[in-house]
Amino acid sequence: MRTRNVAIVFRKELTDTLRDRRTLISSLLLPLLLFPLLLAGVLGLTILFVQRAERQTAPVMLLGAEHAPELARRIRALENVKVLPASNQYVQWINDKKLQAAVEFPPKLEINLRQTLEQPQSVKVYWYEGELRSRFVLRRIQKIVREYREEIVKARLAAHNLSAADARPFEFEQKNVAEAEKVTGNILGFILPYFIIVLCLTGAMYPAMDLTAGEKERGTMETILASPAGRGEIVLGKFLVVLLTSLATTALSILSFAVTVIAGGSALADISKEFVIQVSARSAATVFVVVLPLAVAFSAALMAVALIARNYREAQGYLAPLMFVVILPAMGSFLPGIELNAKLAMVPILNVSLLAKEIFAGQYPWKMIGMIFGWTCLYAAVALWFAARQFQREEVLFRT
Amino acid sequence: MRLQRIGVVYRKELLDLTRDRRTLVGIFLWPLVLFPLMTVGFGQIEKKVSQRAAKREASIMVLGAEHAPELVARLQKTEGLTPVPASEDYVRQINDKKLQAAVEIPMGFQDTILSGQAPPKVSIYFYNTEGRSERAVDRIEKTFENYRAEVIESRLGARGVTPKLLEPVVAKPENVATAEKVGGIKLGTLLPYFIILLCLMSALQPAIDLTAGEKERGTMETILASSVGRGELVMGKFLLVLSFSLFNTMLSICSFAVTMRFAKDYAAEMTRGFAYTIQPKAMLLVFLTVFPLAVLFSATLLTVALFAKSFKEGQSYTGYVMLAAIFPAIISILPGIELSAGLALVPIINVSLVARELFTGSYPWGLIGLVFAATTVYAALSLWLAIKMFQRESVLFRS
């Protein structure tokens, strides 16, 4: 194995790949543009639509308003709420979305409230479950009723010579003491491992096909095999380009995603003050080291499989199903509360997904990290060996 | 344009396609094997993992336990909470996940409660977004609420008043929308999106194969030299792409329906909120509005792929079409977007939104008609374009 030859092959394949328009678009342009556009566009539109829905005038009906004149008055006074005359068609109208909600006051409500009755009264609010605007109106009506209730309670307490403190002996509140990094890490650890793994795979797919089956299709396979470069040197040179492309695509995508989220986050920070986004460089670096052998395994395996194909189209047919084989275990990061153990550490892809989730959350289980790194390196070595072997087999290289 | 010739072209393309083993496996693999497996499998695993997580004991620490012996006693009796001795480094322990929560009771708590002065505040320290910590907090808060309710009752009772004094009126939401409508919203948001995406994606491969693939294999020239007209050739190919796309979509929908029904027992979490009764009338109308969209997709993909010289190139070009189509599809599932006359004219979004209406059992006939008409117009245009392109030598013989 002469390093010089590997370098020569690597340089040529890299030049060739970088000049391929398809690679440039799917590996560079797409990740950089897609995420900002998607996130910003989708998020922006969602906010727009939701705000618009909130501002729309909501038709509401009051049933038995005569029993609760004060409440009725308050509801009528709400902005963007239009009270329609009462009718017993309200169920149908709510279903048809002509009406967002109907409020039913029990008979003699306010009269009963002024006397202290034993039974708490309930005001029914009929609505359309799951429908956005109906939910907005429901919440606003609930708020009105809540405020009214508090006034009554205050008055009642005073009447009995009780203070507000009597009604509320003690308070308790939640206080997050976890570092911002850890909180962000938990959220990131949910989806990021999945994306990183899937990106590593998809980023390697196209170059793996192009450099093997594509070479066969173009008729240049024979020529390179007749040159002094040994089979192993050719495989290594090509493999390095596939790996590089895969890592570059992943890194660019994550970067683009991160920038978008941070930019979006600071825009959102004005809306939700508590949200602080912080990512630790240490966890990012550790995850990278853990994912690296997996990327190696992917690149080598994809090349080995794609080499079997006679042309690009056939290669596609072989590689596309592999996506599913990888996606399922990669989804491991979506599962809450799985604890890593020695057995799970052996399962390829799943182990990396779960480990990355832990690392993002700020945990560094060094023994597990070592174990999983070891296992993944083993799988990577097997994949590389398999790829190298494929390149030795004449029936694979010259399949007709 | 002779129907018989179109039929000949169609039958040959169909025969060719069905003999490709890999394509066949691809058609049936996802709907019949992968999707059910993934849904049920994942649902099962998620259920098991969640159950196991919920049963685990949470370690909590009480700081200042001497100030509220009664409260502490309650916490100790609460299921799922295991108190540990107090120590200074609780913040570190919570961060390291060795401790799930810490409760800090201010000085003089018990006395303040009994005397009825300003309410003291108990702090619950926890790890936000961490499941176990949040569950522990839930349990703690529940215990606190129960205790607080008792204190209130005893205090008010001492003055001869019942706690019901404090709950004069409450607003109770009551859903009056039919089950179909409630479940239909969730279904109607996701299903049209998937149907549209499926229609598009399953048309990709045959569209490329029948145009760029034909060029690559060198058989384009041969067929063009035969006595079939260009228009007939296009129609035959287009019909194959269309029927392939529709077949795939139907199969996937059936698989979806069956899996969802079946998964109701095995993976309840994932299938919650989906409607199971869809009126056949609605289903038919959905099909009617999706059909011209499928035509639009098939014809457009066929035209775009025709520009390619090779299979690889065909993939690139059709890939761009896919990207362009995904955006409107995604927009249509955003919350707060409603079908209107204006949106009824926008391709893809209109079909998605009208399907949502139909799934919830509402029939805005005017809008349905508008969507159908608009999509049909677009479909006709795309078909006309496809036929035009097949006439152009610069496209057919690009090299």
């Binding site: 030859n5 020569i8 092959v9 040529k12 030049t15 060739d16 000049r19 391929d20 173009r218 008729g219 240049t220 024979e222 020529t223 095999l225 007749a226 040159s227 002094p228 470069a229 040994g230 004449e394 029936e395 010259f398 | -």
Partner: protein, 245 residues
């Protein structure tokens, strides 16, 4: 010099079972001579040539090419062989110069020597005007020249051509034929395969007729005509093949 010694190549086919593509083929080719391997499609020409170029490994026998054994010293063999199969198989996205440079480097040529050599070759073949043009933008004739340059860059003593004029028009085929003659003039050992009779008649010093993996006959054109009492190569060929059936 090429010395094939009972070369054998066996394949395993899924449907047809064991196939003997090349069966005990032996022949010699001297420097300054052109050896033509003549046969129909599937006769074993390509497989034989691939074995000589060490692209395929023989399942039996061996060959000495340029003084090195193909089984024991394949690396050395490749360093001394120029192999040309299809004239148009180039890396489309590389320029003509880059294409030739890549292989030159693989042949271990130093930058200085390589640049000089490329300069010479490009000058001689008239390639300077499309030196920096991408290979997929070249005409067939230009592509051919690039392939020739690539084959020659390391000045190998042995040249192996596998159906080099397949699919080329008359004028462009002549360029290849001229090039092959030039190689002979330079004292290189040349072997090429073809199924075009006229080509074999015009070019070859020795002709080997191969059919079903076996070398059925060998000799100069005159010798073959005399031996089999047939007026031209095509008749000789048909006679031999039919007799073997």
């Amino acid at each position: 010099m090429i010395d094939a010694q009972k070369l054998c190549k066996e394949f395993q086919d899924k449907k047809r079972g064991k196939i003997q593509a090349v069966d005990q083929v032996s022949f010699r080719c001297e420097p300054g001579q052109i050896y033509g391997l003549l046969g129909a499609n599937g006769a074993g020409k390509t497989t034989t040539l691939r074995m000589l170029a060490t692209i395929l490994a023989p399942t039996g026998g061996t060959a000495v090419v340029g003084g090195y054994d193909v089984v024991r010293e394949p690396d050395q063999v490749r360093a001394h062989v120029g192999f040309l199969s299809t004239a148009t198989a180039l890396y489309g996205r590389l320029t003509a110069q880059e294409m030739v440079e890549y292989f030159g480097r693989l042949y271990g040529m130093e930058n200085g020597t390589l640049k000089k050599r490329i300069g010479e070759i490009f000058e001689r073949l008239g390639m300077n005007e499309f030196r920096d043009r991408r290979c997929d933008k070249l005409s067939t004739g230009m592509k051919q020249k690039v392939s020739i340059a690539r084959t020659l860059v390391h000045n190998p003593p042995v040249m192996i051509f596998d159906e080099p004029t397949l699919g080329l028009d008359v004028m462009t085929a002549r360029t290849i034929v001229g090039f092959i003659r030039e190689c002979r003039k330079q004292g290189k050992t040349v072997i090429f395969s073809t199924h075009v009779m006229s080509e074999a008649e015009k070019l070859c010093d020795t002709i080997g007729i191969i059919h079903n993996g076996k070398l059925l006959a060998e000799g100069t054109l005159e010798e073959l005509r005399q031996r089999y009492q047939r007026p031209d190569l095509e008749e000789v060929f048909v006679h031999i093949v039919e007799a073997a059936a």
